[in-house]
Amino acid sequence: MRRRLFLALPALLPPSVARAQDDALTRLMRALSEVRERRSRFTEEKSIPELDLPLPNEGTLLWIAPDRLEKHTRWPIDERLEVSGGRLVYERADRNLRREFALSEQPEMQALVEAIRGTLAGDIGTLRRHYEVAFDGSPDGIWRLVLTPLSLRVRGAVQRITVTGEGAELRGVDTEGSNGSSRMRITPAP
């Protein structure tokens, strides 16, 4: 209930407040876009309704502007996902497996990738092309972007992606989908 109210907030606010939020979002995007490269660690927990326990995993993230994102899971399996432009490379070293896809062929994956990549690039245009974007918080302090996929097909699988952060740092990406949800926590790599 609280969350729903929270989401509805921008629409209920007077126009001047909405404009202030827009300005804040623009400032945040600019701050994010100024970081050209970042290395982070992540821990992730996937919850799937058919499983008793959540499935944890962890690894590293690498971002290189303008469009390269790598998610390297190191535990409990070694798996690497690399997105660059419109191409997606999936690698599983222990199985000697390497696959290359066009991102556009994998709409669910694309939804997730563009959420993180669009945020890291500070590219509000890309975000708005794929999602309905709701923003709250402050660009200098703690903030939150709630992204709802525009495509019906994608929304069948992923209902909502919530990206949280502090200043120009990403702190978390939460995904809620019909086949389970995941929570990812991110910290800068030492």
């Binding site: 899971t73 896809f101 086949n179």
Partner: protein
Amino acid sequence: MKRLIATLVILAGLGGLVAWLAPPRADLVEFLPPGRTPASAFLFRELQSGAATTLLLAAIEGAPREELARLSRETAAGLRASGRFAFVGDGSLNLSEAEQTLLFRYRYLLSPETRTEAFTAGALRPRLEALLDGLRSAASPLLARFGFADPTGAFLGLAASWLGESRVETSDGAWFAASGAPRALLVARGQGAGLDAEAQQAAMDTFRAAFAGANPGSARLLLSGPGVFAAAAAGQIKRDVEFVTLASAALLAAFLYWRFRSFLLLALVAVPLGAATVAGYAAAAAVFGSVHAIALAFGMTMLGVTVDYPILLLTLHRTGETLPQTAVRIWPTLRLAAVAAAAGLVAMLGSGLPGLVQIGVFAGVGLLAGAATTRWVLPHLLPEGAKITARPLPSLAFLRGRRVLAIAALVVAGAILAITGGPPWQRDLAALSPIPAGQQALDAELRGQLGAPDVRSLFVIGPAASEAEVLSRSEALAEAMQPLVQRGLLSGADLPSRYLPSPDLQRLRQAALPQRTALEAAMGEASAGLPFRSTAFAPFFAAVDESRNLPPLGVRDLSEAAPTIAARLSPLLTRHGDTVWGIAPATGVGNALALEAAASALAVPGVMFLDVKLEMERLLAEYSRSTMLWALAGVALVLALLVAGLRGFRRGLAVAAPIAGAVLVTLSVLALAGEAISLFHLAALLLLAGLAIDYSLFIAQNGPNASSHGLPEDDRLGAVLTCAIATLLTFGMLSLCETPVLHGIGLTVAVGVVAAFLLACAMLPKHGR
């Protein structure tokens, strides 16, 4: 004069009538041989008019990658919207929602993994561990969606085997060639089991329109496929036929006008030619149902010989004699010439090759009709008091009796043949194909890049009573050919049963599915210690229960609800009346001969291995052998006719000698030109022999009633020279054609006619009688 005009009008009317009743056809189908066995006959029919003809391969190039991808997507969308294509492959190839639902429902009947032992706790445990592992990976959304209803992975395995083996690189929703300049690739398959030339043309037009509709800018569309080939071949033949007909008619008319300064003569010459054409065409149409454009072009040029007859009649006309009297006087020689020329066509009739037989009938009937018209009709058409005089030709008397020259020419020709070993023999039917080499190369390239099998080596399954029987035999073949795959003779085959198991096999799989209690127990044991909830696999249990009672999936169900899979299956299955045939193109074939030997040793009932190229070569060799035999028979027949007609063995040989010499010289010229000879050249040599008989007979002093010709020798030589030049003009045109068959025949005859005429002159006795 009135009678002449009336005759021409009647002939024109008859010509128009037969052409309207049986218009000439330009597709190659009926011009090519039927197969040697039912299986090869089926295969040739398939290749010429079956499902294989509905395939269009396309490439888009000449723009940056992203632009090519966009063009590919939009062209494909246009093709799908047109409704003309059963299948369009462009890289966005995905199973539709409805198709996924159907195949998912039937997964345990379709999957080769469905065996009793696959549902034991021991076999399920690693599957569940793999599922858990998959749920941890980035592929978890996919596995969460399918994995709990299908923990054995039957469906994902099927989808991968149907769609995943493509060697094509996919990027931005389009297929790209793996190497070279950026090139987007598309495949489209037309509706229906086979397409005629018109439907193929329409499919190509739709394709080009869809491409143009995508605003291609500087990008180019390249199209290939059997339909494109057929259209290119038909276009080429049509151009050649029009060119030859118009150019040779114009040249011939110009020459005759120059020689005789008389339009009347042109009209007279047209009468036997027109009668011969109409009669030949009507005969061929009556025997074969329709006349092929190649037969028409070649037959017409051959009937150019009939121009000789009125020329001979008119130039051998003596003063103080009526034209009917002249006709009676020269008739024995004329008759012998026409019958001998027609006898020369025996080899064509005997070759058994439909196209050649057609030409033989056309030309044979035409020749006799032309001669008969000259004898009985033409003399009555010359208006009273009309006078036709020939302009003198340069005298060739100096050649007369130069036997040394003739012998020297023959020795040189013999030496050339001995040194070069004669012209090479053409074994490859493809070399006779009128399809431009560039187009053939593009096709090979696109097939390579798309991984589309070139339908060259394949297994033919059939005839069978039903699709189900073909599928069962295909399954037997799949098992039987495993040792061949292990020996590296082939890497595999695109079997119909790969896309749809036979009903029998589907029932066997149903029988292998466990009962619910047994399955629950096995799953309980297998998932011990794994974090799955007890309710997690309820959809799996329900699905196995349902699968046990499903009616087996048939070809019709697939074509209704699963277009992507049906599009892969349908070209492999063909129904002809009550029988069904299947094909399984082999991939990765190294040595076709070795594979053929091993495959025929398999002896799977109702399955035959065929290599199209080998089969074509054998067919060609067989036809060549029979043509050769019939050619010898034709030579014997012509000789016998000459000996009988001239009432003397020596006289017959004297007439035959220049003809044999002309054949020798022609062969040596072909050898020097590097022209590989086919049975079409062989037939042309026979035609040449038939033509040369005219010259030899009329030039030779010792023809029947020779004394009564009573014309100065120069006049006779002039008359024959006129005929030879007329023939040279028409066949010279033919040798300029691009269609290999027409070109070969034209070259052979043109060279031969010159040789025959000169040799006939030179071999005359030194002094007149």
